[in-house]
């Protein structure tokens, strides 16, 4: 990877981590509050992100915007034939998300904030990924 790309992805990630922290969406408390429908905050953050993402994707698609190196941007659709994986896999994810109070991004952002215990769920998340691969052919997709 070119040094320029390295720096740009690093900066994009830094902005992402910083905003996640400032939005408090990395908080276990905020996640509990969301699943209890006791605050609009999380829904506002996720909804606001989707609106901006949606407008950006429409602009990129309609104007055939190229990436910074001039390559065409190809956005592959998700496989819509595998609905079982989305609903069952999604439910497993949701159970973990509410239990841990953090999804993958926030696990690492919290680690960066000095919460070293997050190494444990990160390793457990790797184990979960490994387990999925091991069971993949036996699971309904």
């Amino acid at each position: 990877m070119k040094a320029k790309d390295f720096i740009l992805y690093l900066l994009a990630g830094t902005l992402f981590g910083f905003v996640l922290m400032k939005a408090e969406v990395v908080s276990w408390f905020r996640i509990q509050e969301m699943f209890r429908f006791e605050s609009f905050h999380m829904f506002g953050v996720i909804g606001g992100a989707i609106v901006v993402g949606m407008i950006s994707l429409q602009v990129i698609k309609r104007l055939n915007v190229k990436d910074k190196d001039g390559n065409p941007i190809k956005i592959s659709p998700k496989d819509s034939t595998q609905m079982k994986r989305y609903i069952i896999g999604g439910t497993f994810f949701g159970l973990g998300w509410a239990l841990l109070g953090a999804c993958p991004g926030p696990m690492f952002v919290l680690l960066g904030s000095g919460l070293t215990i997050m190494i444990v769920p990160i390793l457990a998340g790797m184990a979960g990924t490994w387990a999925y691969a091991a069971l993949k052919d036996k699971l309904p997709h």
């Binding site: 990877m1 006791e38 993402g53 609905m83």
Partner: protein, 187 residues
């Protein structure tokens, strides 16, 4: 200026800035934003699995994702350590009361220290939350083919029906955990 960096940001600022990640990584190198694939890259990098699922060039395919992750850790350090908000999160008092009744005592930080400490790892609740919680997130993200970033943000932004189904799944699981299972775990 320092105030602005330490204060929490309202949803209508933070949400759109998070959403900008989608066009940013597309414009840098045509990548569709997602975070949880990093777990796969890490397992692949460890070289412990012979499963073909991990048999790919993680250095090449996962490089951008891993660098983004390193940035996110750095962003967490800046936002949560250097420019940490000194005040507790302004939660709904109803939530605070409900969680207090379930046994949570510390509301001062981003996570309850009742659970998120190395010493709590030795308790049944700590083990369950930190290990089972993390495991389900990793397992579920790969099973569903994405997490909050890949499905809820990128996928829904692209009006993908599969992502909508996945997000419905996230909420089915989350609601079951928050309303039915967590009260039992903490009692």
């Amino acid at each position: 200026m320092f105030e602005l960096l330490t204060q929490p940001w309202p949803w209508y600022i933070a949400g759109p800035v998070i959403g900008l990640t989608v066009p940013i990584v597309l414009l840098i190198g045509g990548k569709m934003f997602g975070f949880s694939s990093n777990f796969r890259h890490f397992v692949s990098a460890c070289g412990v699995s012979k499963n073909e699922f991990f048999n790919y060039n993680w250095r090449k395919d996962g490089a951008w994702n891993i660098i983004f992750l390193v940035g996110a850790v750095l962003g967490g350090f800046l936002g949560g350590y250097v420019f940490a908000n000194p005040n507790p999160i302004a939660l709904n008092p109803v939530t605070v009361e409900a969680l207090s009744n379930m046994g949570i005592q510390d509301f001062s930080g981003f996570v309850p220290t009742d659970i998120f400490t190395w010493s709590a790892l030795g308790t049944p609740v700590g083990l369950l939350v930190l290990i089972v919680g993390g495991f389900f997130v990793g397992f579920g993200a790969r099973y569903a083919g994405g997490c909050t970033s890949g499905h809820a943000i990128s996928g829904l932004s692209d009006l993908q029906i599969g992502s909508l189904v996945a997000v419905i799944g996230f909420f089915i699981g989350g609601l079951i955990m928050a309303h039915l299972i967590y009260p039992i775990i903490l009692s």
